[in-house]
Every structure is written in C-alpha cells, then in structure tokens.
Symmetry: C2
Subunit: 345 residues, 2 copies
C-alpha cells in the first residue's frame, strides 16, 4: 500500500451555543499502514445527524465527547480500497462509524457490508440505517401504537420523524406531524401520507396542534423539545407514551432557559395523567435489528415507506451543512457525498 492521505474535519474547539465555522478545522493526514484485520476505506457518503452536537460538548452523556483535535464522529458508507481482513474484499461497500474524513483505516470486524443491489447505498445512513432504526425501535417499543390512536411526531420531515409517522400510519394511527415551514408540512401530508402537519414556525402553534388532535395525543415522539413540547404537553391523554429520542431545540443551549421553572408542571402532568416518558438510543434495541431490516426493507420494497435525502457535495461543506441541520435548514435526511460511488481509482 502506498501511503494514503486522508482529508478530515477535526473538532478545533468546543462550541458555546451554536457551532460556528471556527469549531471545525479541515486537515490532511497521512494514514498509517494496514495491520492484520484492517481495511483501507474511501468514504462515499457521510451521515450528518443531530446527535453529533452532543459529541462536541464535554457534558456527561451516553457517549464520550470527541477530543479536541479529534476527527468528528459520524456514520459512513465507504468502499474497501485495500484489505487485510478476510471477510472483506477490495471493492466491497460497507457501513461503519469512520467519521468526517475522506479515507480511513478501520478494523474489518467493526464494519457491516452493504449489498448495493438491494437499495441505494445512501439509504444505509437513513431509512435503512440508524435514523430509520431509531424511528422503528422508539415507536414500536416505547410508543406501542394501537389502531385509532393519535400519534404526534416532531421534526416530521426529518430522517427519523418521517419514518415514525409512516410506520404509525401502517399501524392504523391518526398521525400529525410538526415541521418547520409550509414546504415541509406539504411534503409530510402529500408525499408521506400523514393526516395533518403543523408548522412550528406559526405563532399559533399551540392552537394548531390542538385543532389537529381533536381526541388528544396518545403518543408523542419527541425529537425537538422547547416550544413544540410545550404545545404538545397539555394535549397528552391519560396513559400517553413519549419516546424521548432527541431535543434538538436545546442542543445549542449554553445555560438553562429563563424561568419560571416548568419542571414541576411537567412532573404534575406525568403524575395526574399517568404519562410514560422514556429516553432511548438506537443501540438499546440492537437485539431487534433483524426485525427492523426485515420490516422496513419489506415496506420500502412495497412502496409503503418513502424517503427523501438532502445530499450535499464535498466533505468541506460538512460543517456548514451540520450548522444548518441544527436550525432545520435541511429538507430530508442530510448526507454529505464525499466521493463518487464508482471508484475513480
């Protein structure tokens, strides 16, 4: 193997509030030679997801933060360039967590091979990947939807929300999305088949959600927090379930918002309406991955689940695209195309 250089985006500094360009730095680094069991990869697609904001901070969370100077973490679809791992040949396509870089050296056993004939490669980062599995696991395990129930999902046109709503429809629920802007709302209703969608940028948010949920809310799939959560909370029915998947509206908070302190009101609602709030991350349900692949793969094939991708070209665009993601600027699953699918050598 000739020495391979990798373009990579590292965490230059920790953001205070919204991430800015200066928190990221583009570098080039020569990769070390392969050891036994390792492969050299060229990245094709890099997934950008809200959870990455958490990795940029050093607050306690379910995962270690990215160290200063470290490559930003992220899921990727890559092609094997060279292999010292028996299970993967050069040319194979794989999913892995190899981060924001053009090339990577990775242990073969940490990668999952993808069959490019089954679905477009990029879907391994979206509807058939972590976001789709997150939707499936949270809705079915925690939400436990029943026919005729009302399900509300925030960030409804996003990578997770779009799948949540479509599965809930397949389960016979009334589904109301909450999304940012008229265009996203139209997409959610007309393309994805939700029963209604409310624009969270509308000043009358609380009233609109109420109008869209005449029988209250049985499941609220929480992706955002903030004003959307406050609009939903009064509408939750007795015994409502709330899978807590994300809180994107708070990821840039550098301090708790001003008062009054609404935590006691939240707890009062939990008590008197016997709500269940449960946080989760997708890996909590790793044992059910086979069910996910089988069900969602089948629904995709049958055209019962649709998806939309927002593809940005060029690794160097990742920091700006990620900053936009936290503000809802993307439309569909945000993916960076780092290189062409077909090898240019």
């Amino acid at each position: 193997m000739s020495e391979q250089k990798s373009k990579r985006i590292v965490l230059a500094s920790r953001p205070s509030g919204e991430p800015v360009d200066e928190n990221f730095r583009l570098e080039e680094k020569e990769l070390r030679p392969l050891a036994a069991g390792e492969v050299l990869l060229r990245t094709i697609y890099l997934s950008l997801d809200p959870y990455m904001r958490g990795r940029m901070s050093d607050a306690k969370s379910y995962a270690e933060p990215v160290p200063i100077g470290g490559v930003m973490e992220g899921g990727t679809v890559s092609q094997v360039v060279e292999s010292q791992f028996d299970g993967l040949k050069a040319g194979a396509y794989v999913f892995g967590y190899t981060g924001w870089q053009s090339h990577a050296v990775a242990k073969g056993e940490t990668l999952r091979q993808i069959d490019p004939s089954l679905a477009p490669l990029s879907t391994a980062l979206g509807v058939l990947g972590m976001p789709g599995m997150t939707a499936y696991m949270g809705l079915l395990n925690i939400g436990q939807p029943k026919t005729g129930e009302t399900v509300v999902v925030s960030a409804a046109s996003g990578a997770v929300g779009a799948v949540v709503g479509q599965i809930a429809k397949l389960k016979g629920c009334r589904v109301v999305g909450i999304a940012g802007g008229v265009r996203k709302c139209e997409y959610v209703v007309k393309e994805l088949g939700f029963d209604a969608c409310v624009d969270h940028k509308d000043a009358g948010l609380a009233g609109l959600v109420k109008d869209a949920c005449p029988e209250g809310i049985d499941i609220y799939f929480e992706n955002v927090g903030g004003a959307v959560f406050e609009a939903v909370l009064p509408l939750l029915n007795d015994f409502a379930r709330m899978p807590v998947c994300g809180l994107i509206s708070h990821y840039n908070d550098s301090a708790p918002p001003p008062g009054p302190n609404k935590a006691p009101l939240l707890m009062r609602a939990v008590l008197t309406r016997r709500l269940t709030l449960r946080g989760f991350i997708v890996s909590d349900f790793a044992a059910q991955q086979g069910d996910f692949i089988r069900d969602v793969g089948q629904w995709l094939k049958e055209g019962k689940i649709k998806y939309l991708e927002d593809i940005v070209d060029g690794l160097e665009k990742a920091p700006k695209a990620f900053q936009g993601l936290l503000k809802g600027a993307n439309f569909g699953k945000l993916v960076v195309r780092v290189a062409d699918e077909k090898s240019s050598g």
Copy 2:
C-alpha cells in the same frame, strides 16, 4: 330507621397555596332514609392522604374536585348500623370512600367488607389499604427492582414510602430513604431496616444522598418532588426507573416556581440516561389487588413488613391534621379516629 344526623367536614372554599382552617367547615346534616341496596354507616377511622389536596383545587387532574360545600372525600373504615343491602348485615365492618363525616348512607355494592380478626381495622387504610397497595404496585410494576440495585424512596417514613422500602429490601435491593428529621430517619433505618436514610431538612442534602448511593440510583420512587428530586436526578443511573406517585412539595404551589426553567435539563437526563418516568395511581393496577392482599398480608403475618400509625382523635381535628400532613408533621400513616371500634349504640 330513626333520622340519623351526620357531622361532616365540607370544603368551604378552595385554598390558594397552603390550606387554612377557613377552607373547611364543620356541619351537621340529617341523612336521608335508606333506599333499597343501601346501608347506614358509622365511621370509625378516616384516612388522611396527600392526594386530598388535589381534590380541593379545581385544576385538571385524574379525579373531579370536591365541589364547594361538598363533603371532603376520603377512605374510611365504618361499621354497618342498618342495612337494606343483602350482602352486609348490621355490625359488619367495611372499607369505603365515604368521606370526612361521622355517618354516611352508601350503596352496599361500593363497600368492601373487612374481617377484623385478620389485622387491626385501621390497617385497611394503610399498609393493607390504598397506601400499601400504591407502594406495591408502583415499585413492582414500574420500578421492577432487581437484586443488588439501589432504590431511593422519598417520604420514606410515610404510609407509602415505608412499604416501598421494605418491599425493596425483600427484593434484595440496597434501600435509601429520604425523610424529614432525625427521628423519622432513625425509625426508617432501625425499625424498617433501610440501609440508610437522609434527612431532607439537612442543607447538605445533595451530598448526603450521593454519599448514601455510591453506585448511583436504579429506582427512585417519587413522592415529593422539589429539592429532593433535584438531589436525586444527577444520581440516576442509565436505564433508571422512576415511578411518579406523588409530588407533595408542590401541592400547595399557586404558581410555577421561579427560574431558571429546569424542564429541559430534566428531559436531557431522560434522553441521555434513558430514564423511564411513569406516573400512576393505585387504581391503574386494580386487576392485581389480589396479588397485593396475598403478598403483603403474608409479609405482615411473618413480621417482614412493619407499619406505624399516627392516630388523631376526633373528626373535628381532621382539618388541622391534614394541614400538618402536607408539611410532614405526622409520623406514620395519618388516621383520624372518628368513633370507637366498639359500637356505643
């Protein structure tokens, strides 16, 4: 039947903040004659419980408020004086929700007969009644204790908390109580067998709870909210469960506390540590009442569960005793002895 007068305590006005004497009024009223299927009861014991504060307000809750001028609601142990109901004879002891009054006319089918030879009559309001069943249902169904886990229970010497902790010990857990004052803490450890107890009146509350839970907290049985909850929250382990049974520290709130708004911090903890918060009331688990009676009855007989009652004599003392209950002035299950167990005719 000669006309029977009933002394009764009615809701004179709704409290704003702490209930005061003026919110209650002692009246005497003549009871109507019995209809078919009804019984005339004389009250022996009246249970005073924190949930009654909720019934005094007209805020939305799981139950209708007591109307102004209506008899205060409450569970009672009574004796049948006269019966037009086939299933109950004069002299029988019954449990019912007949409220804060000396006598009542009730439908026989709403009452549950008590065998006075099995346990003291007053236990039907405590360890073998609603509070004991609340403890059993919340801990086992929502808390799901496993051997070796750490369980924290607030209001630990109270009617619910004392049973929670003792069942958790029987399930092999490390049990830490939180109670108000040295005397209650001593009782919880020395008499009830908890591993430790922290006095919530101590200014160093957060540090003391931390010291008492070196391996974090797997189950927090929530009875109080407020500062106790804030001391517990940072210590909850990944996948911790929180049965939300009561929030007594907030029942007298007339407005949300001042900021900052800690609701987002709470939700962040739910998300990153994958907590489960679930509110409940005892009737949600009515189908398991037989299990409760069997298990707790057995444990009582074997001396594995102990209980303490704080008995106040005289119906007219109920309002003051209830005001004290909300401040933690009672020590053990608070019960009003309205009349002697043996009929005085």
